[in-house]
Amino acid sequence: MTWNWNYVVESLPAIFQGMWITLGLTIACYLFAMLFGFVWTFVRRIPWRPLQMIIAFIMEFIRSTPPLVQLFFLYYAWPMVPYVGLTLDPITVAIIGLGVHFSTYIAEIYRSGIESIDKGQWEAATALNLSLKDKWTKIILPQAIPPTIPMLGNYLIIMFKEVPLTSTIGVAGMLHMANNFGSKNFAYLEPLTLVAVFFLVMSYPTAVLFRKLEQRMNRRFDKNNPTGKIDKGVVT
């Protein structure tokens, strides 16, 4: 066993520095995904079959191909694309790449939220002569969004765990710093373990928080299970 506490302490500053990048990038990618998710959701509602099918196909394509390859495409290939090609810095690539990838999942969540609203709500809003904008902002979205918050929250955690992918295109997050530090000293154990611990320490409490929230939401929305207790029991 070769665990070296001094080395752990030495590697801390670099990893800390990377942590801020990782956290900041997580938030940025997540916000981008939330916003872009709206774009998918609304474009898909345009009542024109061919467009809907094309959008559904594009979303399926983005969702079922690796985000790593998508990052490489944006980073290495996009500048070479004729006419629209553009050289992007790694952070921008990360935000767009991961943001768009996860926006396809987020859009699905929005959609399920919107479709869960009874059509009587739309009709009542029409009968009261509300404008299209008011129908969405005052009637539909305020009902559709709250039940999706736990699911959306989960994607924040998922995003956090995907962000280290961007180390491959040179974003100096936690994993990147740990790898650099490790390769300088030919010893990866401590810095990589430290990174893993950091991830765990940050994502586990957040996950617990969202699980609690989800239970409370279930309680509010599930009439068959008014206490909202999740059965943790042992199968007997």
């Binding site: 070769t2 399926e60 985000p67 495409f73 290939a77 992918l165 996950a207 007997t236």
Partner: protein
């Protein structure tokens, strides 16, 4: 295109191993034995709480430093990382499905005077597995995407070959990556269909309530 076989082999090996782990850990978390329960719970939270790419690097670079363990080859380091990670996620599916079936069917099965083992094997599992299938399918697609990471620890999969080719033919980069993306999509298609089919199946044969 080269590397297809690596991608596919890694996928199959990780899938088989991860389903195995998912069942072991899923049952572990439902065990009567508190140590087994705590231990599997700990495993699940650690692997869900850290990132797959971090785990992969840890198995590849760090583990040999500790204990002097070498996971035989790069191939196995990669497969074990992916399988442990997705096994942890899917154990939650196993546990959740069994619990939700067990809740509704326990009394009926007890009334038939079945033993605990019979109950699990004859009544609960057949329904629970059907419930798990669509989620298993979804995770299979996730695993396919995750196999692209193995190129980062030196496995010569499709992405690895693509990268090598791109570094010598810079202007062809767009073509290379688009081809790779299409390749992954083609591999994903049957998995997508399988998942949809499983969704239909699962909505059929499960007692609701």
């Amino acid at each position: 295109m080269q590397g297809i076989n690596i991608t596919v082999t890694v996928l199959i090996a990780s899938a088989v191993l991860s389903y195995l782990i998912a069942f072991i850990a899923g049952f572990g978390r439902l065990s009567n034995n508190i140590f087994i329960r705590k231990f599997t719970g700990f495993y699940v939270e650690v692997f869900r709480g850290t990132s797959l790419i971090v785990q992969l690097f840890w198995f590849y670079y760090a583990l040999p430093g500790l204990f002097d363990i070498h996971l035989a080859t790069d191939f196995w380091a990669a497969v074990i990382a992916i399988a442990m990670n997705y096994g942890a996620y899917m154990s939650e599916i196993v546990r959740g499905s069994i619990l939700s079936v067990a809740k509704g069917q326990r009394e009926a099965a007890t009334a038939l005077n079945m033993s605990r083992f019979q109950r699990m094997r004859l009544v609960i599992l057949p329904q629970a597995v059907r419930m798990m299938l669509p989620e298993f399918g979804n995770y299979l697609i996730q695993m396919l995407k995750a196999t692209s990471l193995v190129s980062l620890v030196g496995l010569t999969d499709i992405l690895y070959h693509g990268d090598v080719f791109r570094s010598t033919h810079l202007s062809l980069a767009p073509t290379v990556y688009i081809l790779i993306l299409i390749f992954y999509f083609i591999l994903a298609l049957p998995l997508i269909w399988l998942t949809r089919w499983a969704e239909k199946q699962s909505s059929k044969g499960v007692a609701s309530e």
